[in-house]
């Protein structure tokens, strides 16, 4: 069976010519059907850029310099635009980070979900609203019919995030990119949202690429994980294994720098600056090798 997502040697640069800078330096990762993979890294690692590359939502000044992105065996990079667009929101969906800016503030919740359903599934206006109510019920929103009539500012942040999750799963996607979907939420709400994502993922059989900086979140929801730094994959494997026996010094350092509520303060060790510097100079050395080409 082909993988839900297969990224091979992906290289993405921002800008062109002398001022261009690489943000992804030959990233490869596979996501089997139904797999939940955590994509972990700190800011600047390129994790969101990878998610955007898959969605075809790279910034205008970014270029895919090399590599392929295959969705269920079809090359997304080479695919004609109309075909790719018909996959987005339907077969490949996004759960965005910021629930406030991702919903249209002047449209009612119901209308926003209905547009999606009418566009992709060709439902009638009435049928779309019916289905929208079912979707909201599926994400544990009480009185879904009443919520359909509300504007985004009239519901809480956690509820907005649930609406976006409902929209992501609305058309039965087989791949969901979740880009830090719980970062802005309180811990108790975060837990509910993670539970929901897991439940919907199981019901719809979707694979999820879960982008996050939080090793705790990865531990709870992702079976596999990939550690990204400076646009490079440093380590990957089963989450249980990577967290218990991290092989890369950077993964070990990240774990040691994460404060834990179950341990006293003495355990905390910041990431050594020398380690970060080394990783960046390795990345730049790699850039020069690529530019120079094979000897």
């Amino acid at each position: 069976m082909t993988a839900a997502l297969s990224v091979q040697g992906l290289q993405v640069a921002i800008g062109t010519g002398a001022s261009s800078a690489n943000v992804l330096r030959g990233v490869s990762l596979d996501l089997q059907r139904g797999e939940v993979r955590g994509l972990v890294g700190e800011s600047g690692a390129g994790k969101s850029m990878l998610g955007r590359a898959v969605l075809g939502l790279l910034p205008a000044n970014a270029v895919i310099a090399a590599g392929t992105i295959q969705f269920e065996g079809r090359d997304l990079v080479a695919m004609p635009e109309p075909e790719r667009r018909s996959l987005l929101g339907r077969r490949i969906a996004l759960i965005p980070q910021d629930p406030m800016t991702s919903l249209n503030p002047v449209k009612r919740v119901g209308a926003q979900i209905a547009i999606l359903l009418r566009h992709h599934l060709a439902l009638s206006k009435r049928g779309a609203l019916e289905r929208a109510a079912e979707l909201l019920a599926e994400v544990a929103i009480r009185e879904p019919r009443r919520v359909l009539e509300l504007y985004p500012h009239e519901i809480s942040g956690g509820m907005r995030q649930r609406v976006l999750i409902a929209m992501a799963f609305a058309c039965d996607p087989s791949l969901v990119i979740a880009d830090e979907p719980t970062t802005a939420l309180d811990v108790t709400v975060q837990r509910q949202v993670l539970q929901l994502v897991e439940r919907l993922r199981q019901r719809h059989g979707a694979a999820v690429l879960f982008i996050t900086h939080d090793l705790g979140v990865v531990a709870k929801i992702c079976r596999t994980m990939t550690v990204l730094h400076a646009g490079r994959v440093l380590e990957e494997g089963e989450t249980a294994e990577v967290l218990a026996k991290p092989r890369h010094p950077y993964t070990r350092a990240l774990l040691a720098a994460t404060p834990r509520a179950d341990q006293p303060a003495e355990a905390l060790r910041p990431v050594p600056p020398a380690l970060i510097e080394n990783l960046w100079s390795e990345a730049y050395r790699l850039d020069r090798l690529v530019v120079a080409g094979p000897a």
């Binding site: 519901i155 809480s156 910041p270």
Partner: protein
Amino acid sequence: MTDILLRTGSLSFAYPERAGFLRRASLREVVKRVDLAVPRGSVLGLVGESGSGKTTLGRLLVRLLRPTSGGIQFDGAEIGTLEEAEMRPLRARIQMIFQDPQSSLNPRLRLGVTLTRPLQVYGRLKGRRDQRDRAAALLDLVGLPTGFVDRYPHELSGGQRQRAGIARALALDPDFIVADEIVSGLDVSTQAYILLLLKELRARLRLTMVFISHDLSVVRVLCDDVAILHHGEVVEYGPVARIFGFPQHAYTRQLLSAIPLPDVEPGWLDDPSPIVPSHQQGSAA
């Protein structure tokens, strides 16, 4: 007897809230009868989720807000009812570090100017040379290169900006600092450094602090005591070891169990807390 630097007694704060046009404004209480006692040289963590009133409480403690009722004693004197002019001499001793250094540092001023502005306001600068020396000393105190006196905030990384925010709060040599979510926007590697810096500074400068955070793990690193806030009330309050080790209140337990620790734990996603929104809004419609 322990020496209490800051004490609150039944401290409350309410915002006027209009229910509708022409309707009389009603009061919405966001901080409710809070009793705290912060011993000199200790760090108190104030923990709560959004809407718990933790930021409002922090602003009351530094008297950016005036309590609706109840009192605040700072170093033995009541400050809850002081007018701004009477507060002024105390302002030098009570400082605040804000969450977002990006918006609390003036983007058009070099760090050297920003860091010494409090000194200037209090007439404690002796000329240009002194300004530069003092700024350099402050940068050094928070582990930034002294050459940063000529830098602008946008030339700094997030962690460096937060260090600058801390340096400015330290300029007047305060006794008491309220830090509001100052590590929440930072990467793990940077966050650990800021936490260790604060630990070091509190010991070195004998600071008394209130550290506001939504993140219990971070609080455990830095604080001696912790107060858990829920809907404006302190539901549990005590030494860190006790609250983390033996939480009594149901809400504290709920908060602690919701923290995803970086360990694989298969049952974690299968409930104990039901997937029911705890506070559905929207009744305004």
